[in-house]
Symmetry: C2
Subunit: 238 residues, 2 copies
């Protein structure tokens, strides 16, 4: 399980590169394999589409059970909205014990925060607005708790073409607890040529372009903008 970072070559770790170099088979979502094409010459590639996570993990594990060394790549960090958990669960169901290593990476939230400034400087939560795998009432309860506890939040999977209501509800929940001028950062297509970084406010961010490749960070009551940077002060006396 290898996390390859948010997109560009420069944000990969050496451990990730060495792990991929050491494997015979490299498996992953087609788009992620395209990001590591410089590392996979001469290797067998097993690519698959976006929604075929279980099949992709199963076939990677089958190859590994057959004796091959397999690198299964995830963007960002494999352990955060990636596939590490799924692989470990599926592996536990196999008769044969497979040696698994998880290589951490720079997660999307870390990379987005660095582009925006330092919004995640201290206590924060990461929440996904996708209700494909977690029921919406659970997500809503988490949003309410995080909003009330004045935690900065990084929202993964904020909106898709068909799924727009969730982000609207989230905006309403946070607006009930924080001023309209609270900074909100939007990072889209990180590490790619279409990368777009937008700094806006809680009362205006719903009007911005936000899609499947976006990550939205909502500040807390202490967050502010200094010289164009989104900062959550850590509380040092300056």
């Amino acid at each position: 399980m290898v996390g390859i970072g948010p997109g560009g070559k420069l944000d990969r770790t050496r451990r990730a590169e060495e792990a991929i170099a050491a494997c015979e088979v490299v498996a992953g979502y087609t788009k992620y394999l395209a990001q590591i094409v410089d590392l996979t010459a001469g290797k067998e590639l097993v690519s698959s589409g976006m929604t075929q996570e279980v099949a992709r993990c199963r076939s990677a594990l089958e190859r590994a059970a057959g004796g091959a060394s397999v690198a299964l790549v995830s963007s960002g960090d494999a352990g955060i909205y990636g596939m590490a958990g799924l692989v470990l669960e599926l592996a536990a169901g196999l008769e044969k014990e497979i040696r698994i290593e998880i290589v951490p990476g720079v997660s999307a939230a870390n990379a987005a925060a660095a582009k925006l400034g330092a919004p995640l400087m201290l206590d924060f939560a990461a929440l996904s607005l996708s209700d494909l795998l977690v029921p919406w009432p659970v997500i809503r309860r988490r949003l309410e708790a995080v909003a009330a506890a004045d935690l900065v939040v990084a929202l993964y999977n904020p909106r898709s073409r068909k799924r727009t209501r969730q982000l609207e509800e989230a905006a309403k929940i946070f607006s009930a607890q924080r001023p309209g001028a609270t900074p909100v950062g939007i990072a889209t297509a990180l590490g790619s040529e279409e990368e777009r970084i937008v700094l806006t406010t809680l009362d205006r961010f719903l009007d911005c372009e936000i899609g499947m490749r976006s990550l939205v960070i909502i500040g807390n009551r202490c967050s502010k903008v200094v010289r164009g940077w989104f900062v959550t002060p850590r509380g040092y006396e300056l």
Copy 2:
């Protein structure tokens, strides 16, 4: 501002290594500078102790204002319990505008999670138990909210020799909402030779060795242990 990852060379990104290589001056906490000694030959080093964050940032900024290229290093990710926010705030107070870049890194929580399995697989919170900079009632309210919302939590600065009450209170808060058998992972001195990874449970973890260099991850109601790995299932139908 350069995040150098959790400790070992292999978990640095190329962007971090290139940023340090491109600078004339490298500033940071003495221990962090020791971790990048392979990158700093021939460079001017400005090291300082653990509690001198403000002075360290100020002197780095002064050097930068004087025209030097300066890399200020943080362990893990500079933007998560690191110094990125402090630097941006201090820079805003200077007359001269300084060009600042923040280089993200693998954060301690990411690295600890990868060693333990996949505990942060989906929604989670990162909270620091240090009440030096944030008042304890605020931290306690956050712990209560996170516990009630069934979020996995990564606890930074869980305990020091003098500060032990906070972790006991946190244990009590989580025990009120989650079964005693909930998995708890403890990662200490990540990336160093003294690295220690312990997997235990909510009703027993307070008896484990936990100190300033530890990070504690408490699972949610779905978290489980499979073949020795700490996993929070993402909800895929297997």
